[in-house]
C-alpha cells in the first residue's frame, strides 16, 4: 500500500489541481471542449511553437550531453584539485534566475561586454564585432550552462561505481581503448545517461525564462505561449488546449524513454568508489582535462562575471565597493517591502530544506515502485511520475489557486503551497538518480541478506541504502536547487514575509536605476554563496556506519 504513496501525492497535488484549472478553462470556452483544439491546430503560429520547442530541447539536450559526458568521465575516474568544490560550483548556475544569468552573459558577451571590449581593443575596431545576445545561440549556450551539472553529476555518480575491471578485461582481451569504452562501458552507463538526458530534455522542453529573457519575443516556446495566453491575454480555453498538448507530448516522450530504459538496464556488480583508479591520467588524458577545464570555465564564467559586477557597482565612486551589500542590509527609504538579506536567506533555506525532506522519501518510494514491479503499466506510471517536470508552471500555479481555495484547505498564500509546488518539480530528480542504481543492483544481494535473517528494514538500511546513497545525495542536491531557484512557483500568491532570494532579486530589477542593479547583484552573490554552501553540506551527509561507496 505504501507503494502507492507517491501516486497518491501525485493525484492530490498534481492531477487534481490540473483538472481544476483545465475544467475552469474549458468551461469558459462554452461550446464543445474540442473547439479550442481546432483553433490551436488551425493557427500555424502555435504549430511552429510546438516544433520550435521540440527542436531547441533536442538540440540543447545533445549539446549538454556532448559537453557534459567528458566532464562526467573526469569527475568519475580521476582525482584533481578542489574536485568537491568544483562539483558544487558547476551546479550553482542551475539555481540562477534567468534574468540574473542574462546580466552575467551581458557582462561577458554583450555589446559592451568583456569579449567585445577585448576584440575592439586588439583590432582597434569602431563597433563591437561579436553579436550573440538575442539569438538562438545564446539560448542554447544558456541551456548548456544550466543543465551541464545534471549530466555531470548523474552520470559521474553512476560511473564511479562501475567496476573498472570490466573495461580492463576487455582491454586484456584485445579491445582498443575506444572499443572497450564503446562496447563495455557505454552500454553499462546508458541508464544514467538516459536519466540525465530525460531530465535535461524536460527542463529545456519547458524552458521559459531563458528563452524569454535571452532570446527575445520571437523565440517563444510552448511554455511561453501558455503563459502569454493564460496570464496576459486571458484566453484560457486556448491556453488549456496548449497545456494539454504540452502534457501529452511530455507523456509520450517519457513513455518512449521509460521503455528504452527498461531495455537498457543491466544488472551489474557495483564497485565502491575506492576501487576506481584515482590520480592524473597519462599523456592522452591532459587533452581531456584541458577540455573539461574549459567546459567548467564556460559554465562558471557567468557566475564570476556577476560576482565581479556586484563588487564593482555601476553607481557611486568607481572601484571596488561593498555598497550593494550594505544597501540591501539597510532599509534607507523605510519601505514596507524591504527584505532583509537574512530573512530572504532564511526563507529560501527553509523552503529548500522542506522541499528536500519531502522529495527524498517521495522520489525514493517512486523509484522502488518502478524498480520492483512488473507489468505493462510500469512504463506509463514512470511517464506519469515525471509529468510535473514537463508541465508549465502556469498550469501548476493556476491549478493550485483554483484547487485549494476552500477552507479548511485554503492553501493560497500559505507556505505549504510553496513547498508543495517546489516538491512536485523536485522529486523527479530523486526518482531518476535513485532508479538507475536500483535497477543495476543485483537482487541476489537483497535475497542473500533476507536468507541470512535480516529484516526488510535492516536490508534497506544495511544493503540498499549504502548503494543508493550517492544517488540520493545527487537527488537531494537537485531537489534543494530546484527550490532555491524557485522553479515553477513564481505565479503563486506570496506573503511579504515569505519573500525568497530570487523574489527579492526580481523586486530590485523592477525599478530603474543603478542602485537597484547593484542591490540585485549583491543578492545574487549571496544566493550563490548560500547555494554552494548548501551543496557542500549535502555532499558530506552520510548515514552512520556507511562507508564511502
Amino acid at each position: 500500500m505504501t507503494l502507492w504513496a507517491p501516486l497518491g501525492f501525485l493525484a492530490l497535488f498534481f492531477l487534481y489541481p490540473l483538472a481544476a484549472i483545465l475544467g475552469e478553462s474549458f468551461q469558459r470556452a462554452g461550446g464543445t471542449p474540442f473547439a479550442p483544439f481546432f483553433d490551436l491546430l488551425a493557427d500555424p503560429y502555435y504549430l511552429d511553437r510546438i516544433g520550435f520547442t521540440f527542436w531547441q530541447a533536442t538540440l540543447s539536450t545533445i549539446l549538454t550531453l556532448a559537453v557534459g559526458l567528458p566532464s562526467a568521465y573526469a569527475f568519475a575516474r580521476h582525482n584533481f584539485l578542489a574536485k568537491t568544490l568544483l562539483r558544487s560550483l558547476i551546479t550553482v548556475p542551475f539555481v540562477m534566475p534567468p534574468i540574473v544569468m542574462a546580466l552575467g552573459f551581458v557582462a561577458l558577451l554583450g555589446p559592451q561586454g568583456a569579449l567585445n571590449a577585448l576584440l575592439v581593443g586588439l583590432f582597434s575596431l569602431e563597433e563591437p564585432p561579436f553579436h550573440m545576445m538575442n539569438t538562438l545561440a545564446i539560448i542554447l549556450l544558456a541551456h548548456v550552462v544550466y543543465e551541464y551539472a545534471i549530466v555531470v553529476r548523474l552520470v559521474s555518480t553512476f560511473w564511479s561505481n562501475l567496476d573498472p575491471r570490466l573495461e580492463a578485461s576487455a582491454r586484456v582481451l584485445g579491445a582498443g581503448p575506444w572499443t572497450a569504452f564503446y562496447r563495455v562501458t557505454l552500454p553499462l552507463l546508458m541508464p544514467a545517461i538516459g536519466a540525465a538526458a530525460a531530465l535535461v530534455f524536460l527542463f529545456t522542453f519547458t524552458s521559459f525564462g531563458v528563452v524569454l529573457i535571452l532570446g527575445g519575443s520571437s523565440y517563444a516556446t510552448i511554455d511561453v505561449s501558455i503563459y502569454t495566453l493564460a496570464m496576459k491575454l486571458f484566453r484560457l480555453p486556448l491556453a488549456a488546449a496548449l497545456a494539454i498538448v504540452q502534457i501529452a507530448l511530455t507523456f509520450l516522450v517519457m513513455l518512449v524513454y521509460a521503455r528504452l530504459q527498461e531495455a537498457t538496464a543491466t544488472r551489474i556488480e557495483l564497485a565502491p568508489q575506492a576501487a576506481t583508479p584515482p590520480g592524473l591520467p597519462r599523456r592522452r588524458g591532459y587533452l581531456l582535462l584541458g577540455g573539461v577545464s574549459l567546459a567548467v570555465f564556460i559554465v562558471v564564467s557567468p557566475l564570476l562575471a556577476l560576482v565581479v559586477r556586484s563588487l564593482f557597482p555601476a553607481t557611486g565612486e568607481a572601484g571596488l565597493s561593498l555598497a550593494g551589500f550594505s544597501a540591501i542590509s539597510s532599509n534607507e527609504r523605510n519601505a514596507f517591502f524591504f527584505v532583509s538579506p537574512l530573512m530572504a536567506i532564511r526563507n529560501s533555506l527553509t523552503f529548500a530544506l522542506l522541499t528536500t525532506l519531502i522529495s527524498l522519501p517521495l522520489g525514493t518510494a517512486a523509484a522502488y515502485i518502478l524498480a520492483r514491479s512488473r507489468g505493462w503499466w510500469r512504463s506509463p506510471v514512470d511517464a506519469l511520475l515525471m509529468l510535473p517536470l514537463g508541465t508549465s508552471s502556469v498550469t501548476l500555479g493556476l491549478g493550485f489557486l483554483l484547487g485549494f481555495d476552500q477552507p479548511p484547505f485554503d492553501l493560497r498564500a500559505t507556505w505549504v503551497i510553496i513547498v508543495l509546488a517546489h516538491s512536485l518539480v523536485a522529486y523527479p530528480f530523486v526518482l531518476r538518480s535513485v532508479l538507475s542504481t536500483l535497477r543495476a543492483m543485483d537482487p541476489s544481494l537483497r535475497e542473500a541478506a533476507r536468507t541470512l535473517g535480516a529484516t526488510p528494514l535492516a536490508v534497506f538500511r544495511l544493503v540498499e541504502l549504502p548503494l543508493i546513497w550517492r544517488g540520493l545525495l545527487v537527488g537531494a542536491t537537485f531537489a534543494f536547487a530546484v527550490s532555491i531557484g524557485e522553479f515553477g512557483a513564481s505565479l503563486i500568491l506570496v506573503r511579504p514575509e515569505y519573500t525568497t532570494m530570487p523574489l527579492a532579486i526580481f523586486r530590485y530589477l523592477g525599478q530603474p536605476g543603478g542602485q537597484n542593479l547593484t542591490e540585485a547583484l549583491a543578492m545574487t552573490t549571496l544566493l550563490m554563496v548560500v547555494t554552494a554552501a548548501g551543496f557542500l553540506i549535502i555532499e558530506r551527509l552520510r548515514p552512520r556506519g556507511t562507508a564511502e561507496f
Binding site: T2, P111, T315, D405
Partner: protein
C-alpha cells in the same frame, strides 16, 4: 507491504510534520488583505498610520506583474483571497469590469483628482497614481556620437536609429502595450500610413522586441551594457536614475522623447473585491490611498505621479517631465479593441 517503504512513508510524514513546525508563521490578527503586483511599495509608517487609526492589520499579497496579478484576481473571484486589489490601469480596466471582480465605491477624495485622471466612470476603480510611457534615450551614447535625440515617434524610423530601439511585447508587457497604444493614436488605423506600417518599418530597421521591461532595460539598454540607446520606459525613469545613483548623477543620464503624442498616459487604481467581508474597512483603505499622506509618498517608492493634486512632489521629481500632449484612448475603447490590436501587432511583428 515491504517494510522499507513503511519507513519511507514515516519519513515523509515526519518531514511534513517538521515542515509544519519549522515554517515561519504569520502573526495572527484580523487583517485587511490587499492584493497587488510586484511594483507596489510605500513607506512602513504610512501603512502603520492606517493600521493604528483603524485598528487593522494590512497584509499585502503580491502576485507577479500587473497583468499576472489581475489574472489571479479574476480566477479567484468566487472566493477572493483578498479584500482589495491595487494595480488595474486603463489598459486592463475593461477586462476587470467585464469579469466583475470589483464592487463599486466612489471615494469622496475623487474630488481631489483632476478630471483627466479619473480612470473609471463606473467608480469600480479609484485612481491612485499615473505616469507616462515613452522612449528613453541614453544621453551619453548620443552625445558621444554627435546625435540629437529623436523628437517624435516618426523620427524612430530614420536611418541613424537602425538597430537602436528596444521595445516590449504588448502581449506580455504593460509598458509595451501602452507604447503600442501611443503609436495607434499617433498613426491611426486607417490612411496611407497606419500604426502597422510604422511597426513594419521598425521591424525592417531591426527593432528588438523583448517580453518584459526589466530585461530590456537592464540587458539591452546601452546604459547597462546593451547596444540599444533607445528603450521604451517611463518618463519618470530619468529621475529614478538620479535617485538611485548614490550621488553619481546630479542630472539624469537618460532623457525622454516627448514630441507630439509620443507618450501615453497610464493611470492606475485600486478597487474593492466583490465578496469581501470587510467592505467598510476596505473603503477606508481606498480613501487612505487617495489621501495626501499616502499620495505624497508614492513618487519615492513607485516612481509615478500621485493623482491627488494636493500631494506635494519630492524634490528629485523636478526631473520628471510631463508631456504637454500625451496620447490617450478611452478605457472602454481600449477594452473593445485590445485583443484585435495585439493580434494585429503580433501578426505583423512576430509571426
Amino acid at each position: 507491504m515491504p517494510r522499507p517503504l513503511t519507513a519511507l512513508t514515516a519519513l515523509l510524514l515526519a518531514a511534513v510534520l517538521l515542515a509544519a513546525c519549522a515554517a515561519p508563521t504569520p502573526p495572527p490578527a484580523v487583517e485587511l488583505v490587499l492584493m497587488t503586483h510586484d511594483s507596489f511599495d510605500i513607506s512602513k509608517e504610512v501603512i502603520a498610520q492606517f493600521e493604528k487609526a483603524n485598528n487593522a492589520k494590512v497584509t499585502i499579497l503580491k502576485a507577479g506583474d500587473a497583468g499576472e496579478a489581475l489574472t489571479l484576481a479574476i480566477l479567484s473571484k468566487d472566493n477572493p483571497p483578498a479584500d482589495l486589489f491595487f494595480g488595474v490601469d486603463n489598459t486592463f480596466l475593461g477586462r476587470a469590469l467585464a469579469e466583475q471582480v470589483f464592487t463599486p465605491y466612489r471615494s469622496p477624495l475623487l474630488e481631489k483628482v483632476p478630471e483627466k485622471f479619473r480612470l473609471d466612470p463606473t467608480n469600480h476603480v479609484m485612481p491612485v497614481d499615473y505616469g507616462y510611457v515613452t522612449v528613453n534615450y541614453d544621453r551619453k551614447w548620443l552625445s558621444d556620437r554627435g546625435l540629437a535625440p529623436p523628437a517624435t515617434l516618426e523620427d524612430l524610423t530614420k536611418s541613424e536609429w537602425k538597430g537602436r530601439l528596444a521595445v516590449q511585447n504588448p502581449a506580455t508587457s504593460s509598458p509595451g502595450l501602452v507604447f503600442l497604444l501611443a503609436t495607434i493614436v499617433q498613426f491611426g488605423e486607417t490612411g496611407d500610413y497606419t500604426y502597422l506600417d510604422f511597426w513594419r518599418d521598425l521591424k525592417a530597421d531591426g527593432v528588438l522586441v523583448k517580453d518584459g521591461w526589466s530585461t530590456t532595460y537592464y540587458t539591452d539598454f546601452t546604459l547597462y551594457g546593451g547596444d540599444r540607446p533607445l528603450v521604451v520606459s517611463y518618463t519618470t525613469s530619468p529621475p529614478a536614475e538620479v535617485f538611485f545613483s548614490e550621488g553619481k548623477y546630479t542630472e539624469p543620464p537618460t532623457g525622454n522623447i516627448l514630441g507630439k503624442q509620443a507618450s501615453f498616459l497610464q493611470i492606475e487604481g485600486v478597487g474593492i473585491l466583490k465578496g469581501t467581508k470587510r467592505e467598510a474597512l476596505a473603503k477606508k483603505l481606498v480613501d487612505f490611498m487617495m489621501d495626501t499622506t499616502f499620495q505624497k509618498d508614492i513618487p519615492s517608492h513607485m516612481f509615478v505621479f500621485p493623482t491627488n493634486q494636493d500631494a506635494p512632489l519630492p524634490d528629485f521629481f523636478r526631473f520628471a517631465e510631463s508631456p504637454e500632449s500625451p496620447a490617450t484612448i478611452h478605457p472602454v475603447t481600449i477594452a473593445e479593441n485590445r485583443e484585435r490590436w495585439i493580434d494585429a501587432w503580433t501578426n505583423a511583428m512576430l509571426k
